[in-house]
């Protein structure tokens, strides 16, 4: 064990880009309200804390080190969903493709690549065709049905996403499948990034926790008041905490979720699917105790319910991990931790 005095303290702030977003006032969770039986009410302090914690952690990347954030809570309810929403929303600004990057990626795809074309609340299968110059603009050719090619202006290329599976052939005629439109809540929160957030899958984290409970929690109705509370931009927590299996298959997701009782193969597969900068959220002591060793090279967010029977074991494990923490410790700038929430944060060497 290292003597505590020997640890170096380094302050970490959020990346420049996130700070800019904040400064512009384009991205804040503060206006979000939730639906109570008495109507919409501002999110309480504890809920905002979880969103902000997710936002802070989203930009935390330190070479050769991994972080552990563990929270001892009076109840596990909503913590994972809110932290996950905070991470996903912050990362869309932090790691979002610029429109120009997206256009370049789509234009450079080989002809015949399978695509999804989102238009007027429908998604249709499409194949990439040629790129053609017209009136000084490069137009993207896509085939939707039969042998007809339609050409899209560059500003409409954000309606195109690469398909998850290759199509063997296109139907002769297709009306497309109805697709969930970005909610008004997502539009108000994420603004120009909401289309990408809704339709482009990118894994930002993995949750090991109770599927049914999390699904119920993700259905929490949220809103942002507009025009002096005369109107509300409504949606649900699931619009921001986008979990594969909770959102329809034809739209994008941000998190993978598996219950702690899943078998070893599922976890091994998951390990290969997600990049090393994706944090693992352990929702519950038993999932953490059971699977932590397998994901030792990832960042950990550990949600512990004080009423959980395995809570003391998980705390003992975390305190032991703390005693073997990295010599170089970091301070993160968190909002004040509300009453009833206990947080520990430390770095681990990889």
């Amino acid at each position: 064990m290292h003597p505590r005095g020997a640890f170096k303290q380094v302050n970490i702030t959020m990346s420049k880009r996130t700070q800019e977003q904040d400064a512009e006032g384009t991205f804040s969770f503060a206006p979000i309200h939730y639906r109570s039986r008495e109507g919409y009410r501002p999110l309480p302090e504890w809920a905002l804390f979880f969103l902000e914690l997710g936002k802070t952690l989203s930009s935390l990347e330190i070479e050769n080190q991994r972080y552990t954030v563990a929270l001892a809570l009076p109840t596990r309810s909503y913590a994972t969903a809110l932290i996950g929403a905070g991470i996903a929303c912050a990362r869309i600004f932090l790691k979002s493709d610029d429109d120009s990057d997206h256009i370049e990626t789509i234009y450079s795809l080989p002809e015949g690549t399978s695509l999804k074309y989102y238009d007027k609340g429908k998604v249709k299968k499409a194949l990439k065709k040629d790129v053609m110059e017209y009136n000084g603009k490069m137009l993207l050719g896509i085939q939707i049905e039969g042998h007809t090619t339609i050409y899209l202006k560059p500003e409409n290329v954000n309606k195109i996403e690469i398909a998850d599976v290759d199509y063997i052939h296109l139907p002769n005629k297709q009306n497309g499948y109805s697709v969930e439109l970005p909610s008004k809540l997502a539009l108000a929160t994420l603004q120009s990034r909401s289309h990408e957030f809704f339709y482009r899958s990118r894994i930002e984290g993995v949750v090991i926790g109770p599927r049914n409970l999390l699904k119920e929690e993700a259905e929490l109705e949220l809103s942002i008041p507009q025009n002096g509370k005369q109107h509300y931009s409504t949606g649900s927590l699931s619009d921001l905490f986008r979990v594969k299996g909770f959102v329809p298959n034809n739209v994008g997701h941000r998190f993978l979720l598996t219950p702690p009782s899943s078998n070893n193969n599922i976890f091994v597969e998951m390990l290969h699917q997600v990049s090393t900068d994706c944090p693992f959220i352990f929702d519950g002591a038993s999932g953490f105790l059971r699977w932590k060793e397998m994901f030792v090279d990832r960042d950990w967010i550990v949600i512990l319910d004080q009423t959980d029977s395995y809570f003391p074991n998980a705390v003992a494990q975390l305190n032991q991990d703390y005693s073997y923490r990295s010599e170089t410790q970091r301070n993160i700038q968190l909002p004040q931790v509300p009453s009833g929430i206990e947080v520990t944060f430390f770095m681990r060497n990889q």
């Binding site: 505590r4 939730y34 639906r35 109570s36 039986r37 008495e38 309480p44 302090e45 504890w46 809920a47 563990a70 001892a72 809570l73 009076p74 109840t75 309810s77 909503y78 109770p210 049914n212 409970l213 699904k215 119920e216 929690e217 929490l220 702690p260 009782s261 038993s286 319910d305 004080q306 009423t307 959980d308 029977s309 395995y310 809570f311 705390v315 975390l318 305190n319 703390y322 005693s323 968190l334 004040q336 931790v337 509300p338 009453s339 009833g340 929430i341 206990e342 947080v343 520990t344 944060f345």
Partner: protein, 511 residues
């Protein structure tokens, strides 16, 4: 807190509000006659020395310790108190001559306990209940209230006693109820802090917590962080409360009053001894589960073992099969307390009707013959023969499963035919396969029926009542003689033991 107007998110928010605002107060109750009785019990226990479960006077010692604990941990009405005291005194009287002969060294202590009990009998007031009802009346109309007792078995007595004092419509629960997102304006905790899990105070579910205990029981409480070096948090009111009682006022340590803890090792040894002496092939790996209401059940610790459970936290799928290895304390396991623990077989037999006798006889017969072959020749020979007879799936695990009662038949016909050939019932192979298929279908039908009935019952039950008591009985409507009980798991043994397969799932009631 108006529970009728809340969403689940409001419930969670109220839990956080309690964490920030909860206050904790102490009420010490003087009851000198009970103090004398408590000490008399302690002196007698001390004079008996340290006893193990196998010792002759262990049960006697446990009984008086449990009695004492019941008296000081539950707000009992005068009637119940008198009734219980009369029972104890009758028991002491009955045991007296044997005790005095066996332990003359502790004769004085025994007589003193009887005297203290008789003196207690003359007191016609229940001090704990009186103080509690007084406190409840004082907070009348200032919000919701819960009485928290340290064990579920006290709930019914506490409710009855409160009702007899004119207090109705008040919730009484044990700590496991507080694992859900419930919250109250007032909570009355009966007994010192050390009788309750730490989350009752570190994750409080009420704004005002009032602790009621006897003055002579020592106790202390102070907020403590769980992590070694946590980040600074907004202070809560509880963080500023320290209660430390002077040892000269409260001389009896709270822990010493607890009844003997459940001894997994001893029970394990008893269960293992009861199942010893059989052939090695009849044994399966098992683990003991301690359930609410002092039941213990050995459940299979084999990899694929599963059991029907009720998970009240999962409102979408409250009744489902769960791998035994994944069961955690708090989950309700479904057990039949009579008839060997299995509740599918009797229902399946009712579905089979008159055919059940013939089908079950056939099932027992071929399994017994297969078992005999394994006993006589070993697994390797049996597997080799089955393969020669055309069974592609004969291996150690499968043959073991086919032999045990928990499986009805092989999945594929060629494996079954190979077994029939081996046990020289080849000619009856088709008829037996048909009978086994009928049992199999009846089992599936029974499983579906029971599951759907349970889902229906759970959905139409007061979940709070189930959570509070940690136990619920289900009567199968059409088969009224079959009842199933959902018991909340309290503790799981870490040891794996070997038991004959017929003992697994068969619950045992602890004394």
């Amino acid at each position: 807190m108006n529970t009728l107007l809340k969403t689940p998110f409001d419930d969670t928010s109220d839990v956080y509000n309690c964490s920030a605002n909860a206050t904790l107060q102490w009420s010490s109750i003087k009851f000198s006659e009970l103090h004398v009785f408590t000490r008399a019990v302690q002196v007698l226990i001390n004079s008996l020395g340290k006893l193990d479960e196998g010792d002759y006077w262990f049960d006697f010692q446990r009984r008086i310790r449990v009695f004492r604990f019941n008296l000081i941990a539950c707000p009992l009405s005068e009637n119940i108190l008198q009734e219980r005291l009369a029972d104890l005194l009758a028991y002491l009287q009955e045991t007296r001559s044997t005790f005095l002969q066996s332990r003359p060294d502790a004769a004085d202590q025994y007589e003193n306990l009887m005297l203290a009990g008789k003196r207690l009998q003359t007191i016609k007031t229940s001090h704990l209940l009186m103080t509690l009802t007084g406190e409840i009346r004082e907070i009348k109309d200032t919000g919701s209230a819960l009485v928290l007792v340290c064990e579920p078995r006290f709930i019914v007595d506490a409710e009855t006693s409160l009702q007899s004092s004119g207090i109705r419509n008040i919730d009484v629960a044990s700590p496991s109820y507080l694992k859900s997102d419930v919250s109250y304006e007032n909570m009355f905790i009966i007994g010192p802090t050390r009788w309750f899990p730490s989350f009752v105070f570190s994750a409080p579910r009420a704004n005002k917590i009032q602790l009621l205990k006897f003055a002579w029981i020592s106790d202390s409480w102070k907020h403590q962080t769980v992590f070694v070096n946590p980040l600074k948090q907004k202070p809560s009111r509880l963080m500023q409360i320290i209660i430390e009682e002077s040892p000269d006022i409260s001389e009896i340590d709270a822990d010493s009053l607890l009844p003997p803890a459940f001894n997994f090792k001893f029970t394990q040894n008893q269960v293992v001894a009861a199942g010893s002496g059989h052939n090695d092939i009849d044994y399966l790996q098992a683990r003991l589960f301690l359930l609410e209401d002092d039941w213990v059940v050995p459940l299979s610790a084999e990899d694929d073992a599963s059991i029907l459970v009720i998970n009240l936290a999962d409102t979408n799928l409250p009744v489902r099969k769960m791998k035994v290895a994944e069961i955690e304390p708090g989950i309700f396991v479904l057990i039949r307390t009579t008839g060997g623990g299995d509740f599918i077989i009797p229902v399946a037999d009712q579905i089979l009707g008159p055919l059940s006798e013939k089908a079950r006889k056939c099932q027992r017969e071929w399994k017994s013959l297969l078992r005999n072959k394994i006993v006589e020749n070993g697994y390797d020979w049996t597997i080799k023969q089955l393969k020669t007879n055309g069974s592609p799936r004969a291996n150690y695990m499968n043959v073991r499963n086919w032999m045990f009662d928990r499986s009805i038949k092989t999945e594929f016909r060629e494996d079954f035919h190979a077994i029939m050939k081996l046990i020289e019932l080849e000619e009856e192979s088709d008829a037996n396969w048909n009978l086994m298929s009928m049992i199999d279908r009846a089992h599936r039908q029974a499983g579906r029926k029971i599951r759907s009935m349970l889902i229906d019952k759970v959905k139409n039950s007061d979940l709070r009542a189930i959570k509070k008591s940690g136990k619920i009985d289900f009567e199968l409507e059409q088969e009224s003689e079959i009842s199933i009980t959902a018991f909340q798991v309290r503790e799981i043994s870490s040891d794996i033991i070997k038991l004959p397969h017929w003992q697994i799932g068969n619950p045992i009631k602890q004394a």
